[in-house]
Symmetry: C2
Amino acid sequence: MNGAEALVHTLVGGGIDVCFTNPGTSEMHFVSALDRVPGMRSILVLYEGVATGAADGYWRLAERPASTLLHLGPGLCNGLSNIHNARKASSGFVNIIGEHASWHLKYDAPLASDIEGLARPLSHWVKTAPNSKAVAPEAVNAILEARKGHIASLILPGDSAWEESAGPAATPALSVSSNQFGSIEAAVRALTSGEPTMLVIGGRAIRGEALELAGRIAGKTGATLATQFFSSRIERGAGRVPTYRIPYFVEPALKALAGFKHFVTVETREPVAFFAYPGKPSLLKPEGSQVHSICEPFDDGLSALRALADALDAKPSHALHQARGENLLPTGPLNQQSIAQILCALIPENGIVVDESVTTGRESIAITAGAAPHDWLQNMGGSIGYGLPVAIGAAVACPDRRVISLSGDGSAMYTIQALWTQARESLNITTLIFANRAYQILLAEYAGVGAGVPGPKAAAMMSLENPTMDFVAMSKSMGVPARRASTCEELIAALQANLKEPGPNLIEVVL
Amino acid sequence: MNGAEALVHTLVGGGIDVCFTNPGTSEMHFVSALDRVPGMRSILVLYEGVATGAADGYWRLAERPASTLLHLGPGLCNGLSNIHNARKASSGFVNIIGEHASWHLKYDAPLASDIEGLARPLSHWVKTAPNSKAVAPEAVNAILEARKGHIASLILPGDSAWEESAGPAATPALSVSSNQFGSIEAAVRALTSGEPTMLVIGGRAIRGEALELAGRIAGKTGATLATQFFSSRIERGAGRVPTYRIPYFVEPALKALAGFKHFVTVETREPVAFFAYPGKPSLLKPEGSQVHSICEPFDDGLSALRALADALDAKPSHALHQARGENLLPTGPLNQQSIAQILCALIPENGIVVDESVTTGRESIAITAGAAPHDWLQNMGGSIGYGLPVAIGAAVACPDRRVISLSGDGSAMYTIQALWTQARESLNITTLIFANRAYQILLAEYAGVGAGVPGPKAAAMMSLENPTMDFVAMSKSMGVPARRASTCEELIAALQANLKEPGPNLIEVVL
């Protein structure tokens, strides 16, 4: 058994049985091992950013790591921005990065680069397997890292892959998290002070029992239950505990937080501005208010909320639950509000929404609060091009659920190759491209940073006109059936049809 | 004048008047400055890998640097693999990378990352402008680096961009290169020894006077004049000095070099294998042969060849020149040979060929040696997805010349967004997509690394069937007119039509 076979065995044995793959010559022994070692589903992508984004989406739904297979330093480079997004979401996975055989490196062949140097800034763990016998033990270390929600990058030189190994290595059973969280005393005092308090939850604390407990605490104490503008995964919709979303832009965020004296944070930190703006603050809380962290990001928010609910004697009956929204389908022109109303009515029960809707969905998503219960995934790292790939990972993790992937036109074009993999794997993904034919968000940001009114050259840098893109044709060209919608009636009809069809499909929503 | 305006002034003053751009919020002051500072052509791209590849292509033809505008760490990440390719080609340009305002960094906002750490492995020069007054002087340093064929990465925090500057800074006149090269004595001895000698030229030594001098030297001494398998830019075709291309695969390369006793190298190093293979050597020269470097990569090959030609008394009459190939247009099925014959006949005078043809063009390009005189550009870093972007840069640098961009289907999908920018800028680019519907080269590599015969899972990782892509529809969806060709007759007709039409167009060549 060579090093590559030992690696695949070790990954599968350690619970990593999906690999998002874009291999080259230096990875051929890994590819070859897929035929001899059972249990690994290998999914081909046309670009590495699709692989890393898919691994992010897989983690968020499956709650366990996948792997990626990347072709040397440049293959890693192409995956880095979605690794950045995954890292900010605390999504763990193992990158297998091919490398030249050790004895070839000194000749500085065309593809030679400093892979460790490229991997380090965005990985929690980086290691080059020094020989074929070290591959399996290092894979175990990588798996253990990834299970913590970390980015593990295992570099696999050709000779480590093709030479004889000592066989696979066993990964210890999933270590239960440490139940680690901070002191709840200050939070209890704040929540019982009678002063306006916001309970801000993030990470895994926005779903399941944790969300329910947060709802009880808010109901019992009168605190406002909130999430950051972006969260990695929220369970929301009818029957769930609703949360208030802190606004994106600085001015409305300051206004929303004004008056609060305390912020109790769980698996997140105090709200900060997404970008810096001249003369505007980075911190959004009002002066004189206090932040009480009971659980740092990626610590054990569930245990923290259990302790807090116990201390406050918050009971199930204290929790408020979202009512189902009225299914009033709008007619006429499409705009942010009518699109959100249509989604509220049509998101299917147990659907998964991957939100990269940027301008179109950014301020109107509250309208969908009363949709059928669903998961809502957002971009934690701010690097666009996350949506279409994350939808792949979510659909692979949950083949029985429908994924609705919302994307701006500008953001969709970052990783548009993802559509081909959606077709190849017959994934149940309905993509909506909001074609406003601009980097619309930048028009607001341009004013926000005090740059004034764009002149012709600046305006051209934010326009996606000339030529306009035809997303219906583009989608079909990669094997994904597509429709176009320009009115509410058309979007409703297209969405109703698409949600019924198995496999992927797409709607170009012309705005 | 704020820092961003001073930066644009300084770039333009320093001869950098093209910027390949994909901006975000943190770059809005730079974008705004474009309207107030004349002289900078800003070209919008939909993905950063298109920007960096275009800057590479621009350098290769214009022989001076362009700039890119990238959105923070993730924007840089998306451009890194084509930066890798450019670095290996010694193409210089200045990356302007936006960053949060300095005072915002400590809050670890979503887009915060270690930009310097990400830039360093592939940049020759990295600097964060510490304040608005430092922007222009640091831009001068970046320009001077880029002029050397280096990658310069200037990180521009928001406050350095929007606060008051001390105005632009002047870049010193282009410093003439140092005429640096090594001793020619050993090379003279080798070339006059009567023993088989190969003169291997690279870098800027494969064009103009340098190529002519190399031809004289080869003619006078009987040496074989050769280039590496990949070169950044070759002037070739009828009337030019022809060169022998050292093969890609190890076995034919060993065979081709067997018998040579001396290798004289100019602006390149001794031939090495592209990849490592079990049991095969990395160095391709025969045992007992000697390498005589008279000029390291990116030193002054022209001066070295002048000295060598003088020492050998090589005269213009000694040079062999390529005859025009017969324009026999093939008929019937398309294959590597017939495609190359068609290109030989139809490449227009003074055309620019950007070659990412991978399997389809890899072994048959010698057939085009007798085409009308043209430039031929290849990928020096081995990271696919270089071709469509490099074609943009070449077309921007040479608006009066036709660019022919040859791409595999797999490689085209890496940076397919480039088509939109080609349409937007009405660039004279004819793209040929060779649709063999596979990562065909990997089938050869799979055997080459000793992985045997691919089983079903491995074979699936190299297939681009299921679904097949429709490049005609995809191209049109981004505004580039397209045709399909499945026979020689169809390809000839399509190419003849496309070469006459101004602006970009595309042919899907179905194999």
